[in-house]
Protein backbone atom coordinates (compact mmCIF):
# COMPACT_ATOMS: atom_id res chain seq x y z
CA UNK A 1 0.00 0.00 0.00
CA UNK A 2 1.36 3.37 -0.84
CA UNK A 3 -0.49 5.59 1.53
CA UNK A 4 0.53 9.18 1.40
CA UNK A 5 0.36 10.88 4.73
CA UNK A 6 -0.13 14.58 4.64
CA UNK A 7 0.70 16.65 7.65
CA UNK A 8 -2.24 18.19 9.42
CA UNK A 9 -2.33 21.95 8.89
CA UNK A 10 -0.82 23.71 11.87
CA UNK A 11 -2.22 26.87 13.34
CA UNK A 12 -0.23 29.95 12.38
CA UNK A 13 2.22 30.98 15.06
CA UNK A 14 0.59 33.56 17.33
CA UNK A 15 2.70 36.65 17.57
CA UNK A 16 3.06 38.22 20.98
CA UNK A 17 2.89 41.90 20.11
CA UNK A 18 2.74 42.87 23.77
CA UNK A 19 6.07 41.21 24.58
CA UNK A 20 8.52 43.92 25.60
CA UNK A 21 12.28 43.72 25.45
CA UNK A 22 13.91 41.95 28.37
CA UNK A 23 17.29 43.44 29.29
CA UNK A 24 20.48 42.46 31.04
CA UNK A 25 23.30 44.92 31.55
CA UNK A 26 26.54 45.01 33.51
CA UNK A 27 28.99 47.91 33.84
CA UNK A 28 32.10 46.40 32.29
CA UNK A 29 34.26 49.29 33.53
CA UNK A 30 33.84 48.19 37.16
CA UNK A 31 35.23 45.15 38.94
CA UNK A 32 32.87 43.85 41.62
CA UNK A 33 35.62 41.61 43.06
CA UNK A 34 37.37 44.64 44.57
CA UNK A 35 34.15 46.04 46.10
CA UNK A 36 33.58 46.38 49.84
CA UNK A 37 29.79 46.22 49.83
CA UNK A 38 27.64 44.47 47.23
CA UNK A 39 23.89 44.76 47.62
CA UNK A 40 21.01 43.58 45.52
CA UNK A 41 17.46 44.80 45.02
CA UNK A 42 14.81 42.47 43.68
CA UNK A 43 11.57 43.99 42.43
CA UNK A 44 8.97 41.31 41.78
CA UNK A 45 6.16 43.20 40.11
CA UNK A 46 2.88 41.97 38.72
CA UNK A 47 4.19 42.04 35.16
CA UNK A 48 7.98 42.36 35.31
CA UNK A 49 10.75 41.38 37.70
CA UNK A 50 14.08 43.13 38.05
CA UNK A 51 17.28 42.33 39.89
CA UNK A 52 19.74 45.20 40.39
CA UNK A 53 23.28 44.90 41.74
CA UNK A 54 24.77 47.89 43.52
CA UNK A 55 28.50 47.86 44.16
CA UNK A 56 29.79 50.30 46.79
CA UNK A 57 26.70 52.45 46.34
CA UNK A 58 26.88 52.60 42.54
CA UNK A 59 24.72 50.83 39.96
CA UNK A 60 26.68 47.85 38.64
CA UNK A 61 24.23 45.69 36.72
CA UNK A 62 20.65 44.64 36.27
CA UNK A 63 18.35 42.12 34.72
CA UNK A 64 14.78 42.90 33.76
CA UNK A 65 12.43 40.14 32.71
CA UNK A 66 8.80 39.12 32.67
CA UNK A 67 7.33 37.85 35.94
CA UNK A 68 6.29 34.22 35.75
CA UNK A 69 3.49 32.55 37.66
CA UNK A 70 5.69 31.99 40.69
CA UNK A 71 7.21 34.93 42.60
CA UNK A 72 10.15 33.06 44.21
CA UNK A 73 11.14 31.62 40.82
CA UNK A 74 10.82 35.02 39.16
CA UNK A 75 13.09 36.56 41.80
CA UNK A 76 15.63 33.74 41.45
CA UNK A 77 15.63 33.90 37.64
CA UNK A 78 15.98 37.68 37.61
CA UNK A 79 18.98 37.55 39.93
CA UNK A 80 20.54 34.55 38.18
CA UNK A 81 20.40 36.42 34.86
CA UNK A 82 22.58 39.28 36.08
CA UNK A 83 24.86 37.08 38.20
CA UNK A 84 25.59 34.86 35.20
CA UNK A 85 26.52 37.92 33.18
CA UNK A 86 29.22 38.98 35.66
CA UNK A 87 30.24 35.67 37.22
CA UNK A 88 28.89 36.51 40.66
CA UNK A 89 27.39 34.08 43.17
CA UNK A 90 24.69 34.66 45.75
CA UNK A 91 27.29 34.26 48.53
CA UNK A 92 29.14 37.30 47.13
CA UNK A 93 26.15 39.57 47.80
CA UNK A 94 26.09 41.05 51.29
CA UNK A 95 22.48 42.17 51.51
CA UNK A 96 19.33 41.59 49.47
CA UNK A 97 16.18 43.73 49.67
CA UNK A 98 12.92 42.61 48.12
CA UNK A 99 10.28 45.02 46.85
CA UNK A 100 7.18 45.04 44.66
CA UNK A 101 4.06 42.92 44.90
CA UNK A 102 6.07 39.77 45.45
CA UNK A 103 8.52 41.29 47.94
CA UNK A 104 7.61 38.91 50.74
CA UNK A 105 8.18 35.95 48.42
CA UNK A 106 11.83 36.64 47.62
CA UNK A 107 13.43 33.59 49.26
CA UNK A 108 16.90 35.05 49.77
CA UNK A 109 15.90 38.62 50.81
CA UNK A 110 17.05 39.97 54.17
CA UNK A 111 14.39 42.67 54.22
CA UNK A 112 11.26 43.73 52.34
CA UNK A 113 10.53 47.39 51.60
CA UNK A 114 7.50 48.77 49.79
CA UNK A 115 7.86 49.71 46.14
CA UNK A 116 6.77 53.27 46.95
CA UNK A 117 9.84 53.97 49.09
CA UNK A 118 12.08 52.08 46.66
CA UNK A 119 10.85 53.95 43.57
CA UNK A 120 11.45 57.27 45.29
CA UNK A 121 14.97 56.21 46.26
CA UNK A 122 15.70 54.83 42.80
CA UNK A 123 14.36 57.94 41.06
CA UNK A 124 16.51 60.10 43.34
CA UNK A 125 19.58 58.16 42.14
CA UNK A 126 18.59 58.12 38.47
CA UNK A 127 17.31 61.67 38.16
CA UNK A 128 19.40 63.39 40.84
CA UNK A 129 18.41 65.04 44.11
CA UNK A 130 16.28 67.60 42.27
CA UNK A 131 13.59 64.96 41.72
CA UNK A 132 10.44 65.84 43.67
CA UNK A 133 7.49 64.30 41.84
CA UNK A 134 7.62 60.71 40.65
CA UNK A 135 5.13 58.94 38.49
CA UNK A 136 5.52 55.18 38.47
CA UNK A 137 3.51 53.57 35.73
CA UNK A 138 3.75 49.95 36.68
CA UNK A 139 2.43 46.77 35.15
CA UNK A 140 -0.87 46.76 36.96
CA UNK A 141 -0.89 49.88 39.08
CA UNK A 142 0.02 53.50 38.99
CA UNK A 143 1.70 55.54 41.73
CA UNK A 144 2.20 59.24 42.25
CA UNK A 145 4.95 60.03 44.77
CA UNK A 146 6.48 63.17 46.25
CA UNK A 147 9.92 62.95 47.81
CA UNK A 148 12.50 65.20 49.40
CA UNK A 149 16.08 65.81 48.25
CA UNK A 150 17.20 62.54 49.83
CA UNK A 151 14.56 60.47 48.05
CA UNK A 152 12.44 60.05 51.18
CA UNK A 153 8.72 59.85 50.45
CA UNK A 154 6.69 62.83 51.67
CA UNK A 155 3.38 62.09 49.96
CA UNK A 156 2.10 59.20 47.92
CA UNK A 157 -0.98 57.88 46.26
CA UNK A 158 -1.49 54.72 44.31
CA UNK A 159 -4.24 53.13 42.29
CA UNK A 160 -4.13 49.38 41.94
CA UNK A 161 -7.83 48.76 41.55
CA UNK A 162 -8.00 49.58 37.89
CA UNK A 163 -5.65 48.69 35.02
CA UNK A 164 -6.31 51.92 33.10
CA UNK A 165 -3.10 53.92 33.01
CA UNK A 166 -0.88 50.88 33.46
CA UNK A 167 1.47 48.77 31.40
CA UNK A 168 -1.05 45.98 31.18
CA UNK A 169 -3.49 48.36 29.50
CA UNK A 170 -0.85 49.18 26.90
CA UNK A 171 -0.18 45.49 26.32
CA UNK A 172 -3.89 44.93 25.65
CA UNK A 173 -3.94 47.69 23.04
CA UNK A 174 -0.71 46.39 21.47
CA UNK A 175 -2.28 42.97 20.98
CA UNK A 176 -5.53 44.45 19.74
CA UNK A 177 -3.76 46.59 17.14
CA UNK A 178 -1.27 43.81 16.32
CA UNK A 179 1.59 46.27 16.59
CA UNK A 180 4.73 45.59 18.68
CA UNK A 181 4.48 47.44 21.97
CA UNK A 182 7.71 49.38 21.37
CA UNK A 183 6.24 50.91 18.20
CA UNK A 184 3.04 52.22 19.79
CA UNK A 185 4.55 55.46 21.09
CA UNK A 186 6.19 56.65 17.85
CA UNK A 187 3.16 55.60 15.78
CA UNK A 188 0.82 57.59 18.00
CA UNK A 189 2.38 60.77 16.57
CA UNK A 190 1.99 59.65 12.97
CA UNK A 191 -1.46 61.25 12.62
CA UNK A 192 -2.86 64.26 10.79
CA UNK A 193 -4.53 65.94 13.75
CA UNK A 194 -4.94 65.40 17.49
CA UNK A 195 -7.69 62.97 18.46
CA UNK A 196 -9.93 62.78 21.52
CA UNK A 197 -9.05 60.30 24.23
CA UNK A 198 -10.89 57.00 24.43
CA UNK A 199 -12.46 56.01 27.74
CA UNK A 200 -9.87 56.76 30.38
CA UNK A 201 -11.39 54.87 33.27
CA UNK A 202 -11.35 51.25 32.20
CA UNK A 203 -9.15 49.08 29.96
CA UNK A 204 -12.09 46.85 29.04
CA UNK A 205 -14.17 49.82 27.91
CA UNK A 206 -11.17 51.37 26.19
CA UNK A 207 -10.62 48.15 24.25
CA UNK A 208 -14.21 47.95 23.04
CA UNK A 209 -14.14 51.66 22.25
CA UNK A 210 -10.94 51.19 20.25
CA UNK A 211 -12.61 48.41 18.27
CA UNK A 212 -15.54 50.71 17.59
CA UNK A 213 -13.18 53.42 16.32
CA UNK A 214 -11.48 50.97 13.97
CA UNK A 215 -14.87 49.97 12.59
CA UNK A 216 -15.73 53.63 12.19
CA UNK A 217 -12.74 54.06 9.91
CA UNK A 218 -10.05 55.36 12.27
CA UNK A 219 -6.54 54.35 11.30
CA UNK A 220 -4.61 52.23 13.78
CA UNK A 221 -2.33 55.16 14.50
CA UNK A 222 -5.29 57.37 15.39
CA UNK A 223 -6.67 54.73 17.74
CA UNK A 224 -3.27 54.35 19.40
CA UNK A 225 -3.04 58.13 19.75
CA UNK A 226 -6.51 58.17 21.37
CA UNK A 227 -5.43 55.48 23.81
CA UNK A 228 -2.12 57.19 24.67
CA UNK A 229 -4.05 60.40 25.29
CA UNK A 230 -6.48 58.56 27.57
CA UNK A 231 -3.63 57.03 29.52
CA UNK A 232 -1.94 60.40 29.91
CA UNK A 233 -5.18 62.05 31.12
CA UNK A 234 -5.72 59.22 33.55
CA UNK A 235 -2.34 59.48 35.27
CA UNK A 236 -2.34 63.27 35.22
CA UNK A 237 -5.58 63.23 37.24
CA UNK A 238 -3.80 61.06 39.81
CA UNK A 239 -0.78 63.36 39.88
CA UNK A 240 -2.97 66.41 40.34
CA UNK A 241 -4.38 64.94 43.54
CA UNK A 242 -0.99 65.19 45.22
CA UNK A 243 0.22 68.17 43.21
CA UNK A 244 3.08 68.30 40.75
CA UNK A 245 6.36 70.05 41.49
CA UNK A 246 9.33 70.73 39.21
CA UNK A 247 11.74 67.83 39.16
CA UNK A 248 9.31 65.44 37.54
CA UNK A 249 10.48 61.89 36.92
CA UNK A 250 8.73 58.90 35.36
CA UNK A 251 9.57 55.32 36.24
CA UNK A 252 8.17 52.02 35.03
CA UNK A 253 7.87 50.51 31.59
CA UNK A 254 5.59 53.18 30.15
CA UNK A 255 8.32 55.77 30.66
CA UNK A 256 9.76 54.20 27.49
CA UNK A 257 6.63 55.06 25.51
CA UNK A 258 7.04 58.59 24.10
CA UNK A 259 3.39 58.60 23.00
CA UNK A 260 2.31 58.67 26.63
CA UNK A 261 5.24 60.61 28.11
CA UNK A 262 5.00 63.53 25.68
CA UNK A 263 1.26 63.78 26.23
CA UNK A 264 1.71 63.79 30.02
CA UNK A 265 4.33 66.52 29.67
CA UNK A 266 1.96 68.55 27.49
CA UNK A 267 -0.92 68.21 29.96
CA UNK A 268 1.26 69.13 32.95
CA UNK A 269 3.33 71.77 31.18
CA UNK A 270 6.45 70.22 32.73
CA UNK A 271 9.18 68.23 31.02
CA UNK A 272 10.18 64.97 32.67
CA UNK A 273 13.81 64.54 33.69
CA UNK A 274 15.72 62.35 31.23
CA UNK A 275 17.78 59.39 32.34
CA UNK A 276 20.14 57.01 30.61
CA UNK A 277 19.23 54.20 33.00
CA UNK A 278 16.37 51.82 32.19
CA UNK A 279 13.29 53.35 33.82
CA UNK A 280 11.94 49.90 34.69
CA UNK A 281 14.66 49.19 37.25
CA UNK A 282 13.92 52.16 39.54
CA UNK A 283 12.23 50.05 42.23
CA UNK A 284 14.91 47.37 42.35
CA UNK A 285 17.63 50.01 42.23
CA UNK A 286 16.05 51.81 45.18
CA UNK A 287 15.85 48.52 47.07
CA UNK A 288 19.55 47.83 46.45
CA UNK A 289 20.41 51.36 47.60
CA UNK A 290 18.40 50.84 50.80
CA UNK A 291 20.45 47.68 51.31
CA UNK A 292 23.66 49.63 50.79
CA UNK A 293 22.64 52.23 53.39
CA UNK A 294 21.78 49.52 55.91
CA UNK A 295 25.08 47.73 55.32
CA UNK A 296 27.05 50.98 55.55
CA UNK A 297 25.40 51.80 58.88
CA UNK A 298 26.16 48.30 60.13
CA UNK A 299 29.79 48.61 59.06
CA UNK A 300 30.12 52.02 60.74
CA UNK A 301 28.59 50.80 64.02
Amino acid sequence: MNAEVTAAPTAPEKKEFWRWQENTWVDETKDWKTAKIITCGIDVGSVSSQAVLVVDGELYGFNSMRTGNNSPDSATNALQGVMDKCGMKLEDIHYVVGTGYGRVNVPFAHKAITEIACHARGANYMGGNGVRTILDMGGQDCKAIHCDEKGKVTNFLMNDKCAAGTGRGMEVISDLMQIPIAELGPRSFDIDADVDAVSSVCVVFAKSEALGLLKAGYTKNKVIAAYCQAMAERVVSLLERIGVEEGFFITGGIAKNPGVVKRIEKLLGIKAIDTKVDSQIAGALGAALFGYTLMSKKAAA
Binding site: I113, T114, I116, A117, K152, V153, T154, N155, F156, L157, M158, N159, D160, K161, C162, V201, C202, S237, L238, R241, I242
Partner: protein, 94 residues
Protein backbone atom coordinates in the same frame (compact mmCIF):
# COMPACT_ATOMS: atom_id res chain seq x y z
CA UNK B 1 4.52 61.82 55.04
CA UNK B 2 1.03 61.95 53.64
CA UNK B 3 -0.04 58.41 52.82
CA UNK B 4 -3.12 58.11 50.62
CA UNK B 5 -4.91 54.78 50.68
CA UNK B 6 -7.72 54.02 48.30
CA UNK B 7 -8.47 54.27 44.62
CA UNK B 8 -10.09 56.13 41.80
CA UNK B 9 -12.57 54.35 39.59
CA UNK B 10 -15.39 55.24 37.24
CA UNK B 11 -17.61 56.33 40.13
CA UNK B 12 -15.19 58.70 41.82
CA UNK B 13 -12.12 59.11 44.02
CA UNK B 14 -12.01 57.38 47.37
CA UNK B 15 -8.90 58.06 49.42
CA UNK B 16 -8.23 58.12 53.13
CA UNK B 17 -5.08 60.11 53.80
CA UNK B 18 -3.00 59.66 56.92
CA UNK B 19 -0.46 62.30 57.89
CA UNK B 20 2.18 60.06 59.43
CA UNK B 21 4.01 63.01 61.02
CA UNK B 22 0.92 63.53 63.20
CA UNK B 23 0.41 59.79 63.63
CA UNK B 24 3.87 58.97 65.01
CA UNK B 25 3.69 58.97 68.82
CA UNK B 26 -0.11 59.21 68.64
CA UNK B 27 -1.64 61.59 71.20
CA UNK B 28 -5.01 59.84 70.94
CA UNK B 29 -3.72 56.45 72.04
CA UNK B 30 -4.46 54.86 68.67
CA UNK B 31 -8.17 55.56 69.02
CA UNK B 32 -8.66 54.98 65.28
CA UNK B 33 -8.21 51.24 65.78
CA UNK B 34 -11.37 50.93 67.83
CA UNK B 35 -13.32 53.88 66.40
CA UNK B 36 -13.66 52.36 62.93
CA UNK B 37 -16.68 50.00 62.92
CA UNK B 38 -15.03 47.99 60.15
CA UNK B 39 -11.67 47.92 61.96
CA UNK B 40 -9.88 49.02 58.83
CA UNK B 41 -6.96 50.67 60.65
CA UNK B 42 -3.86 48.81 61.67
CA UNK B 43 -0.53 49.88 63.19
CA UNK B 44 2.51 48.96 61.14
CA UNK B 45 6.19 49.81 61.06
CA UNK B 46 6.68 51.75 57.84
CA UNK B 47 9.69 51.79 55.51
CA UNK B 48 11.36 54.45 57.64
CA UNK B 49 10.91 52.41 60.86
CA UNK B 50 8.12 54.60 62.24
CA UNK B 51 5.07 53.05 63.87
CA UNK B 52 2.06 54.48 62.08
CA UNK B 53 -1.51 53.60 61.17
CA UNK B 54 -2.48 52.43 57.73
CA UNK B 55 -5.55 51.00 56.07
CA UNK B 56 -5.58 47.23 55.77
CA UNK B 57 -4.85 46.14 52.19
CA UNK B 58 -8.22 44.47 51.39
CA UNK B 59 -10.08 47.60 52.50
CA UNK B 60 -8.03 49.85 50.22
CA UNK B 61 -10.00 48.56 47.23
CA UNK B 62 -13.44 48.73 48.82
CA UNK B 63 -13.38 52.04 50.68
CA UNK B 64 -16.49 53.51 49.10
CA UNK B 65 -18.51 50.56 50.39
CA UNK B 66 -16.69 50.07 53.70
CA UNK B 67 -17.04 53.71 54.72
CA UNK B 68 -20.57 54.18 53.43
CA UNK B 69 -22.23 53.41 56.78
CA UNK B 70 -20.23 56.15 58.52
CA UNK B 71 -21.16 58.87 56.06
CA UNK B 72 -24.13 61.21 56.69
CA UNK B 73 -26.44 58.82 54.86
CA UNK B 74 -25.61 56.22 57.53
CA UNK B 75 -26.78 58.55 60.29
CA UNK B 76 -23.40 59.95 61.35
CA UNK B 77 -22.80 63.67 61.55
CA UNK B 78 -19.03 63.21 61.65
CA UNK B 79 -16.77 60.35 60.67
CA UNK B 80 -15.83 58.17 63.71
CA UNK B 81 -12.22 57.76 62.57
CA UNK B 82 -11.66 61.48 62.05
CA UNK B 83 -13.38 62.34 65.33
CA UNK B 84 -11.29 59.81 67.25
CA UNK B 85 -8.04 61.01 65.68
CA UNK B 86 -7.58 64.16 67.75
CA UNK B 87 -4.15 64.96 66.23
CA UNK B 88 -6.02 65.38 62.93
CA UNK B 89 -3.99 62.87 60.95
CA UNK B 90 -6.94 61.25 59.13
CA UNK B 91 -8.85 62.77 56.22
CA UNK B 92 -11.34 61.43 53.70
CA UNK B 93 -11.31 62.69 50.11
CA UNK B 94 -15.06 62.21 49.60
Amino acid sequence: MIANYGYKDGSGEYYISIDTDKCIGCAAERACLTACPKQMFEIITDDYDDEVAWIKKPNCRTLSYDCADCKPSGGYTSLPCMTACTPGAIKHSW
